[in-house]
């Protein structure tokens, strides 16, 4: 067992990590956070254990980079109020995230993090809790609450 070429990591996980970034910091900053994440990941990659959860590892880095980005742009806590339809400042159209991703982005910070890191990135609740400065139990509750909120969105869509 050995590490695949980093190109494979980008191809396999790049799009999902981009959507995680969008949900965390909005469309405008998502590409900056993605770029910081993958550059940091590339630097650290040779030291990654070959059988690691690569997506979870990337999400952990993305979480740190998102916090850096939010501090840098001095916008206070995660800018939920700008989401989900903030257009890019550079004149690019806002990504056409489907309603589900909009709903994820609109979740309260801890629920959003718990859903993204556990359900999308596949991290165990203990690690999700560490990322969110919560206990494992609190992370589990936040993920359950987040999924319940998403379920009501989906139910509204289909009804």
């Amino acid at each position: 067992m050995s590490l695949p070429p980093f190109e494979v990591v980008v191809a396999d996980h790049g799009p999902t990590v981009l959507r995680i970034c969008r949900a965390m910091v909005g469309a405008h900053d998502a590409e900056d956070v993605w770029s910081e994440t993958f550059l940091a990941a590339l630097a650290a990659y040779p030291r990654l254990e070959p059988d690691s959860n690569v997506r979870g590892w990337l999400a952990t880095i993305a979480h740190r980079k998102a916090i850096d980005q939010i501090r840098k742009t001095n916008r206070g806590p995660l800018p939920v109020e700008r989401l989900p339809e903030a257009p890019g400042y550079s004149g690019e159209p806002a990504p056409r995230d489907d309603d589900l991703w909009d709903a994820v982005a609109a979740l309260p910070t801890k629920q959003r993090g718990a859903v993204l890191y556990h359900y999308v990135a596949g991290l165990p609740y203990a690690e999700v809790g560490q990322l969110l400065d919560s206990s494992e139990a609190a992370a589990r509750r936040a993920a359950a609450d987040g999924m319940r909120a998403l379920r009501s969105t989906v139910t509204r869509e289909t009804s």
Binding site: L3, S35, D98
Partner: protein, 206 residues
Amino acid sequence: MTFERDILTRLGEHDDESVESMARLHARLLEAASSEDLLDVAYRVLDTPVGSLLLAATAMGVVRIAFDAQGHDAVLDDLARRVSPRVLCAPSRLDPAARQLDEYFSGRRHRFDLPLDLQLAHGFRRLVLGRLTDLDYGSTASYAAVAAALGSPKAVRAVGTACATNPVPVVVPCHRVVRSDGSAGGYAGGAEAKRALLALETANRA
């Protein structure tokens, strides 16, 4: 549980927009990786008359050239294991190599002028590769002759192994080493590719 599966499936889907974003982000990653000295192995694929060639380079030079028959994915995995896992598709670093190979396959180039990184060849095999670059365009030598020229006339089989494991075929012309009876002998890219290269060189010999 079906609800969770449904959510997971939908969160895992990629839209066209994210595909476009990925092309842009990939280019940006390459630029940053180059300037931070993190692009350990760059590669690209080049279409040639002997099939698509995988070209890979380190900062030192061209480290690997591989034929279709060798399996490009397997070769990239091998590079990740033996050189560095920091492997990215970065065509621009291979531009000089691609240009010279294009010229070679059109018969206009008889000698390559490229920095090489021969870290994948060791010991006697590396000595053999050094000797092969002396073989002129359009000429051939037998495995036995190459062994004799290296002062190891009994190392005919070792010369064969060195040719078979040449990490940078075409550029280091192991295709110019043939059997003593004049038949082409084996080749990493297949016997047909070897004959095609020899025919190309015969046709364009000065």
